[in-house]
């Protein structure tokens, strides 16, 4: 489901529970066996930093809402543990030879949480809902490219596009919502925002605002009931408090900060009860330059800034080594990642040389470069509440001052940072992060048409060749051919340096030892959550049936 890049998740940066939609099927049999042995029960207590804004997946975009609602709904397709697309509500699908039509066969034994059967009408309703102009969703773009939607029978739908659209199949991982409850109603004001009805493996139980959200196992789930009786999402707005709660046993899983991971987990209190899991997180941190600011117009300037940024030192010093340097917007080790791009090793000398070529020199001897009587100085902004970003800002400030660039840091409250500065283009440079989504289509963040208020190419990067490559990549179904476009795209980005790509961090997850069948994979750690179980003797929570 997680198709669009979530701004908010990027804020939280500690992105654990990453690959959200993957409920693997292969383990279904073992799960059933375990059910027979009577190991269902217990609950997983998950911490989130913020309260959900609502529980209809399609019209919320904050990570807290999605973290909860991903278990309540299903899409037509989903990822397996290795990020292959597999059926979810769809039994199977067929893509026509010209790649313009997808025909989905739907599963027949699926029921909504209120007992109504799930049919093709719900899928059609979801499609119409997504393209309705009155629907407040950020995920409509992919669905607007659909040119024909046909319900062939209650369990078959055919969807056509004007031209081949590579992200098409994956776009149908969007949550399917119940027609019988939402038709003719205003979704954002519907009671389903607070007490949702889906088809997912957990059903909604209780929501205490600002405190917790509880889901309980869906006994009638088409893929078999999950082993854990409940998922309890506790809202704890501070990571230090969360960590204390974890040590206290009142939270079972959390994403640790690098400092917590390195300095606070070698106590018996921790190691007796918790396991640590680490894997490359699907996100990256970067410094973005406002391309509309004449200061950053010349690519040599941006290259110089990257040369003067000690990526490895930032990883070692601030992340305690828990990450790898980033050179582009894709995750290292995935199909789409191109390792053969220009890399900028830390070199203040090269930076100085490039700046000199671009005409910047310290002519008045004050230690700051100038050109045409203007000093090379700008403001580097970031958001509050993420001390890693502030530390990055302070580190690059020191490093850039060594090459004669004066930087002032401003740390702003998130809402005003986004609304007043990012959306209005009133910034010089920012330290931020993006989540790396599974589909490689970089349209939203890098296409020049996406520069504008509330759009994601907020730095207004514009390169006609990149635009062409992105367009070509979208309309090519063959992954190998697609990769060629994206490889070239990454080469150009590396040359242009509209961002200084900093690093891809490790997800640092602490999880209670009582959970079994935990198996981190490229899809994240919770992809097989329905198979997790707690042996009868170790169960902590009991619930009346």
């Amino acid at each position: 489901m997680k198709k669009i890049v979530f701004l908010l998740l990027a804020v939280l940066c500690v992105s654990f529970l990453s690959g959200c939609e993957d409920k693997n099927k292969e383990g279904g049999k073992t799960a059933e066996k375990r059910k027979a042995e009577g190991v269902t029960g217990d609950a997983l207590v998950i911490s989130t930093l913020g309260d959900a804004s609502g529980l209809i997946y399609n019209i919320t975009s904050d990570s807290a809402s999605h973290e909860v609602s991903q278990y309540i709904y299903n899409g037509l397709v989903k990822f397996d543990k290795n990020l292959n697309i597999i059926g979810d509500l769809a039994e199977s699908w067929e893509i026509s030879d010209d790649s313009k039509t997808i025909t989905f066969k739907l599963k027949k034994n699926v029921k909504w949480h209120d007992g109504e059967p799930f049919t093709a009408d719900d899928v059609e309703f979801t499609y119409k809902f997504m393209i309705d102009n009155s629907t407040p969703t950020s995920y409509d773009a992919d669905f607007r490219l659909v040119t024909g939607f046909q319900v062939i029978d209650p369990y078959t739908v055919r969807i056509s596009y004007a031209e081949p659209f590579a992200p098409a199949l994956l776009s149908w991982s969007m949550a399917v919502i119940p027609k019988h409850l939402l038709e003719g109603k205003e979704a954002a004001k519907s009671s389903l925002m607070r007490s949702p009805v889906g088809t997912g493996m957990y059903r909604f139980k209780e929501w205490k605002s600002g405190e917790s959200i509880t889901l309980e196992a869906n006994e009638d789930y088409f893929d078999g009931r999950p082993n854990l009786d409940r998922l309890i999402f506790r809202i704890i707005p501070d990571l230090n408090t969360t960590f204390m709660e974890l040590l206290n046993g009142s939270v079972d899983i959390m994403g640790l900060t690098p400092t917590q991971w390195v300095k606070q987990t070698d106590t018996a209190l921790f190691t007796n009860s918790y396991d640590k899991y680490t894997y490359l997180a699907p996100s990256y941190a970067y410094i973005g330059y406002n391309m509309k600011n004449p200061l950053f117009e010349d690519k040599r300037i941006r290259q110089a800034l990257t040369y003067a940024t000690p990526k490895q030192e930032i990883i070692d010093g601030i992340l305690f080594g828990e990450g790898v340097p980033a050179h582009g917007p894709y995750k290292p080790g995935t199909l789409w990642y191109n390792d053969n791009v220009k890399k900028y090793e830390y070199s203040p000398e090269k930076a100085k040389q490039l700046l000199a070529e671009a005409g910047w020199a310290d002519s008045d001897g004050d230690g700051i470069l100038d050109k045409d009587g203007k000093q090379f100085s700008f403001t580097l902004m970031t958001n509050q509440g993420n001390s890693v970003r502030t530390k990055i800002a302070e580190t690059v400030q020191q490093n850039w001052s060594k090459i004669g660039i004066k930087v002032e840091i401003r740390v702003l409250e998130w809402a005003s940072f986004i609304n007043e500065y990012i959306d209005k283009g009133k910034f010089d440079a920012v330290v931020m992060g993006w989540n790396i989504v599974q589909d490689p289509d970089p349209y939203d963040v890098w296409h020049s048409s996406k520069c504008g208020p509330k759009m994601l190419n907020f730095i207004c990067y514009s390169n006609p060749e990149v635009d062409q490559l992105i367009d070509d990549g979208r309309h090519t179904m063959n992954p190998q051919e697609r990769k060629k476009y994206y490889d070239r795209f990454q080469e150009i980005l590396a040359e242009d340096q509209p961002y200084t790509f900093l690093y891809v961090p490790n997800a640092l997850v602490a999880l209670s030892k009582r959970f079994r069948e935990v198996d981190p994979a490229p899809a994240g750690i919770t992809y097989n959550l329905e198979e997790w179980y707690v042996p009868a003797g170790e169960q902590k929570y009991r619930f009346e049936k």
Binding site: N240, T259, G317, S387
Partner: protein, 276 residues
């Protein structure tokens, strides 16, 4: 002689002496910060991250390997600077409004005092938070906002004092001689209200320092990498379980400074009180 009496009283007043000593100490530290600090307070060194106090780093180091001792020393400057300027602003506004209100009375007084009442209605820290969020954080804004939201007490105090002296014979005499109102206010009335203003200001500095620390702690005050006691404490909060020195030293610095100004204020009140 009055002056001699004051000095004698000061010598015997423990509160005053202790407060004055603490304040003098921190003023000294602020003025000579570059000589006292052992390291560059902004210098990042990833080879010495989160080290406990030692003979090299007296107060230990923070998450970026910066010397806490030097940061606390330089933070003294910010704290005192903000304290003095913010209180300066509030005393100026408060005094002028208080003089006008108390001297003219009647309708003018009503307007000024109602304005004071309105300002006092706002929970002051919340007001400061809201204004800073609007203006964006910086040392200048913090000083201005604290100053502009804390003058009401001074106004009331000055007004009360002025009302008690304005009907005295020497004021009437001055007025009869045709001396201008401004001159009467500042030359003849102001010296009479100076003492209470001075005491209030001293106590106000303590409050301003605390407010600045709180704002910086919340990330709304002084911007990094400038060290302020409040933002050193913020880093301390994230590491409090295993790096106590990050919270302890700036915390102690805030505590002692605020204590110092409070003692000094209380002491001054005793010393300058003409009764007894």
């Amino acid at each position: 002689m009055a002056r001699k009496r004051v000095i004698n009283k000061a010598k015997g007043n423990i509160l005053f002496l202790a407060g004055a000593a603490i304040v003098a100490f921190f003023v000294f530290v602020a003025v000579f910060a570059p000589l006292i600090a052992t390291h560059d307070p902004a210098h990042i060194d990833f080879n010495s991250v989160l080290l406990p106090p030692s003979s090299v780093y007296y107060f230990g180091t923070d998450e970026l390997g910066r010397d806490i001792f030097s940061r606390v020393v330089y933070g003294t400057r910010i704290s005192l600077f903000v304290g003095f300027v913010a209180v300066g602003i509030s005393v100026m506004i408060g005094t002028v409004l208080g003089l006008i209100s108390g001297y003219f009375g009647g309708f003018t007084d009503m307007i000024v005092m109602r304005f004071v009442d309105i300002m006092l209605c706002f929970p002051s820290f919340f007001l400061i938070l809201a204004v800073i969020a609007f203006l964006n954080p910086s040392v200048f804004n913090v000083m201005a906002v604290i100053g502009l939201t804390s003058w009401m007490g001074v106004t009331r105090l000055v007004r009360a004092e002025v009302m008690s002296v304005r009907t005295r014979d020497y004021i009437t005499a001055a007025r009869i001689q045709g001396i201008s109102t401004a001159k009467i206010l500042f030359k003849h009335i102001f010296p009479n209200v100076f003492t209470p203003i001075f005491i209030t200001a001293t106590l106000g500095i303590a409050g301003a320092i605390l407010t600045e620390s709180a704002l910086s702690f919340l990330g709304l005050g002084v911007q990094p990498p400038v060290p302020s006691w409040g933002n050193i404490l913020t880093a301390g909060k994230d590491n409090i379980l295993f790096a106590w020195w990050l919270s302890f030293f700036p915390g102690i610095a805030i505590f002692i400074t605020v204590l110092g100004y409070n003692l000094l204020g209380e002491g001054l009140r005793d010393v300058l009180d003409p009764k007894e």
